[in-house]
C-alpha cells in the first residue's frame, strides 16, 4: 500500500516542512504538522478586529 495514501497534498507538504518550522508553527503545531495554523491565527485576529470595531462602534454611537 502506498505510504501516504489518504493524506492530502497539504498534509504531505506540512509533514515535509516538519514541526516547529515556518511562521507560527511552534505555538500550535509542535506535534501536529497538519494543523491549519493560519486559520487559527485568522480566527484570533478576526476576534481582535471585531473587538476593536465593536469598541469604535460603541464609542461613536454613544
Amino acid at each position: 500500500m502506498k505510504r501516504n495514501a489518504g493524506v492530502s497534498p497539504a498534509e504531505r507538504a506540512a509533514s515535509r516542512r516538519g514541526p516547529g518550522t515556518g511562521a507560527g508553527r511552534s505555538l500550535f503545531s509542535r506535534r501536529d504538522a497538519s494543523a491549519p495554523t493560519r486559520l487559527y491565527y485568522a480566527v484570533l485576529i478576526t476576534l481582535a478586529v471585531e473587538v476593536i470595531l465593536f469598541y469604535v462602534f460603541t464609542r461613536m454611537l454613544a
Binding site: 494543523a35 491549519p36 486559520l39 480566527v43 476576534l47 465593536f54 462602534f57 454611537l61
Partner: protein, 574 residues
C-alpha cells in the same frame, strides 16, 4: 395567522421532516447511526455545530434582550473563537484518533470506568432537562402570543423531531440542521428589513442606528472589570471561554457534531468556521432587536408584551391601576415619539447642540417609560406570582405578528420552529448516543451485534423524546423551578471542564484524586452561587480552576500507590 402562513409553516416543517427521514434511511451500523459514518464535510459540521447551539430561544429572546438591555450580550460570545482554536488543537485530534463515540468514553482510558459513568450520567441529567427546556420555552412563547394550545405545540414539535431523529440518526440531524439554520437566519434577515422599512418617512437606516446608539442600545463593548455584572469584555472573554470550552469540548450534544467529520481537518475546519462566524451572527441577531427597539420609538408598543398576563391583569382587581399605567405609558410614548423625531431632524441637520439636547430629553423620557413598564410588571406579578419577571421573550414575536405581511409571518414561525427542532434533535441524538454507548453497551449488555445497538439507539431516541415532551408538558406547572433547571448547566460546566483538562494535560493525576477535586470544585461553585454576587459566567472559571488545582493537590498528598490504578498515558495528539 392567515391561511398562507399556515401553508408556509406546514410545508416547511413537512419538507424538513421528510428530508431528514430520506437522508437518514438504511442505517444498520452504530457508527453509521450515531456518527454518520464519520463522512461529513466541514461545512455540514460547522452548520450543525452552530444550529445545535442556536435554539429557538436564541432567535426569540436575544432580540428582546437587545430591546431592553442593548447589545452588550454579544460579549458573552467573545471567548468562543478562542475556545474553537483550543479545541481544534487539543480535543479534536484526541477524540478522532481514539475513534470514540462519546466524550465520556475517552475518560475511561484516563480515569477508569467510574469517572466515565459518573460524567455520562451527569450529562444525561443535565442534557435531558436542557433539551426539555429547549422544547418547552419556544412552545410557551409561541403559544402565549398566538393563543395556541401549549400542550399541542410542544407535542407537535417533539413528535416531528422524534420522527426524523429516531429513523435517520446523526446523518438526518446534521443535514436537516444545515437547512434549519439557514431558514432561521433568513427569517431574522427578513425581520430586520421589515423593521427598517417600517420606520416613518424621513427616518433611514443610519438614523435608526444613531438613535439606538443615543438610547444606549449600541453598548456592544464594555471594558469595565466588574465581577457582578453579567456581560462585560472580561467576563465574556474568560467566563465565556470556559463555558465554550466546556460546552463544545465536553458536552456530547456538540462533541457528536464534530466527531462526524471525515477527517481531523474537516472537524477542525467546522469548529473554526463556527469561531469565525458566531460573534458576527450574534451581533446580527442582537442588531435586529436594536432595530425593533427603534421601530417601537415611532410605533406604540403594548405596555406589556406578554398578552396573556396583560389580559389577566385587565380582568383582575388591579384592572383600574393597570389602566392608569397604560394611560401613563401612552402619554410617555407620545412624548418619546416626538422627541425621537426631533432627534432625527437634529441629526440630519448636523446640529450637534440640538442632538445633545434631544438625546438627553429622549433618555429622560425613556427612564420614565421604563419605570412605568417596571410598575406594570410588578402589578402583573402581584396578580399572578408565577408570571415571568420580564416580557423580553415576547418582544420579537409580537413585532413579527403585528408587522410582517401574510406569508412572511409563516416564514418567521417556520424559522422559529426550525431552530427549536434543530437544537432538540441534537439533544435527543446525543442523549441516545450516551445512553447506548456509555451505559447500555458498556455496562448493561456488552458484546451484542452492531445492528442490535442501532435498534436500541432508535428506541433510546424515542425514549428521550418522550421524556422531554413529558417534562416540557409538566414544566408549565413548575414555575420558578424552571429557572433552576436553566441554571443546572452553569453549575456543572466548570467542573466538567476541569475533569477533561486534567485528563488531557496532567497525566500523573489519577481517577480518585480527580473525583475528590471535582467534588471540591462543585462545592466552590455552589458557595459562589449562594453566598456571593458573582455573575454566573464566573462560576465556570471558579469550577474549572478549583477543580484542576484540587485534583493536583489531592494527587500530590496521596501516598504513592494508594489510589489503586496507575495513571494512564494520554493518547498522542495529531
Amino acid at each position: 395567522m392567515r391561511p398562507v402562513d399556515w401553508v408556509v409553516l406546514c410545508a416547511t416543517l413537512a419538507a424538513i421532516v421528510l428530508y431528514g427521514m430520506w437522508k437518514g434511511r438504511r442505517q444498520d451500523r452504530l457508527a453509521q447511526f450515531l456518527l454518520a459514518d464519520r463522512q461529513m464535510q466541514w461545512y455540514t459540521v460547522a452548520l450543525s455545530v452552530m444550529a445545535t447551539q442556536a435554539s429557538a430561544i436564541t432567535f426569540l429572546s436575544t432580540p428582546g434582550q437587545a430591546y431592553t438591555d442593548g447589545m452588550r450580550f454579544v460579549q458573552f460570545y467573545l471567548g468562543l473563537p478562542v475556545a474553537m482554536v483550543i479545541l481544534s488543537v487539543t480535543a479534536v485530534p484526541i477524540y478522532h484518533n481514539l475513534k470514540v463515540f462519546t466524550a465520556y468514553e475517552y475518560l475511561e482510558t484516563r480515569f477508569g470506568l467510574g469517572m466515565r459513568t459518573v460524567t455520562a450520567i451527569l450529562f444525561l441529567i443535565q442534557r435531558g432537562l436542557g433539551t426539555a427546556m429547549t422544547l418547552f420555552a419556544p412552545a410557551l412563547i409561541v403559544s402565549l402570543v398566538l393563543g395556541w394550545n401549549i400542550h399541542l405545540t410542544t407535542l407537535v414539535i417533539g413528535v416531528l423531531v422524534i420522527l426524523y431523529t429516531a429513523t435517520g440518526g446523526t446523518k438526518a440531524v446534521s443535514w436537516t440542521q444545515t437547512h434549519q439554520l439557514l431558514i432561521a437566519l433568513g427569517g431574522m434577515a427578513i425581520a430586520m428589513i421589515i423593521a427598517i422599512r417600517s420606520l416613518p418617512t424621513g427616518v433611514g437606516f443610519t438614523d435608526a442606528v444613531r438613535v439606538a446608539g443615543k438610547m444606549g442600545r449600541m453598548n456592544v463593548i464594555d471594558f469595565t472589570f466588574d465581577l457582578t455584572t453579567p456581560y462585560n469584555f472580561w467576563s465574556g472573554l474568560f467566563g465565556g471561554l470556559m463555558v465554550a470550552l466546556a460546552y463544545f469540548g465536553t458536552d456530547q450534544s456538540q462533541v457528536q457534531r464534530y466527531l462526524t467529520g471525515e477527517t481531523i481537518r474537516q472537524s477542525r475546519l467546522g469548529l473554526l468556521f463556527n469561531g469565525l462566524v458566531k460573534v458576527p451572527m450574534q451581533f446580527f441577531i442582537l442588531f435586529v432587536g436594536a432595530m425593533v427597539f427603534v421601530f417601537y420609538q415611532f410605533v406604540a408598543p403594548p405596555l406589556s408584551f406578554n398578552p396573556v398576563q396583560r389580559e389577566k391583569v385587565r380582568a383582575s382587581a388591579y384592572a383600574e391601576e393597570f389602566r392608569g399605567l397604560e394611560a401613563e405609558h401612552a402619554r410617555t410614548f407620545e412624548a418619546k415619539r416626538i422627541a425621537a423625531t426631533e432627534l432625527v431632524a437634529a441629526m440630519n441637520a448636523n446640529d450637534a447642540a440640538a442632538v445633545e439636547e434631544k438625546s438627553v430629553a429622549l433618555q429622560t423620557l425613556q427612564k420614565s417609560y421604563d419605570s412605568t413598564r417596571t410598575a406594570a410588571s410588578a402589578l402583573i406579578r402581584k396578580n399572578d406570582p408565577r408570571a415571568d419577571k420580564a416580557d423580553t421573550d415576547y418582544v420579537f414575536l409580537t413585532f413579527v405578528m403585528q408587522n410582517l405581511p401574510p406569508g412572511l409571518v409563516g416564514v418567521l414561525l417556520a424559522a422559529i420552529f426550525c431552530a427549536a427542532m434543530s437544537a432538540t434533535a441534537s439533544g435527543l441524538n446525543s442523549l441516545a448516543s450516551t445512553s447506548v454507548v456509555d451505559v447500555w453497551k458498556r455496562l448493561l449488555l456488552p458484546g451484542r451485534a452492531d445492528h442490535e445497538y442501532v435498534v436500541v439507539s432508535k428506541w433510546m431516541t424515542v425514549f428521550w423524546g418522550a421524556f422531554c415532551i413529558a417534562f416540557a408538558l409538566y414544566a408549565n406547572q413548575l414555575g420558578s423551578l424552571i429557572e433552576a433547571v436553566n441554571r443546572v448547566g452553569s453549575f456543572f460546566y466548570g467542573t466538567m471542564l476541569a475533569i477533561f483538562l486534567v485528563a488531557f494535560y496532567v497525566k500523573w493525576v489519577r481517577g480518585q484524586a480527580m473525583l475528590l477535586g471535582a467534588i471540591v470544585a462543585e462545592i466552590a461553585v455552589i458557595l459562589c452561587a449562594v453566598y456571593s454576587n458573582m455573575a454566573w459566567l464566573w462560576w465556570n472559571v471558579v469550577g474549572c480552576v478549583v477543580g484542576v488545582i484540587a485534583a493536583i493537590v489531592f494527587e500530590a498528598i496521596t501516598p504513592s500507590g494508594a489510589t489503586g490504578s496507575q495513571p494512564v498515558e494520554s493518547p498522542p495528539t495529531g
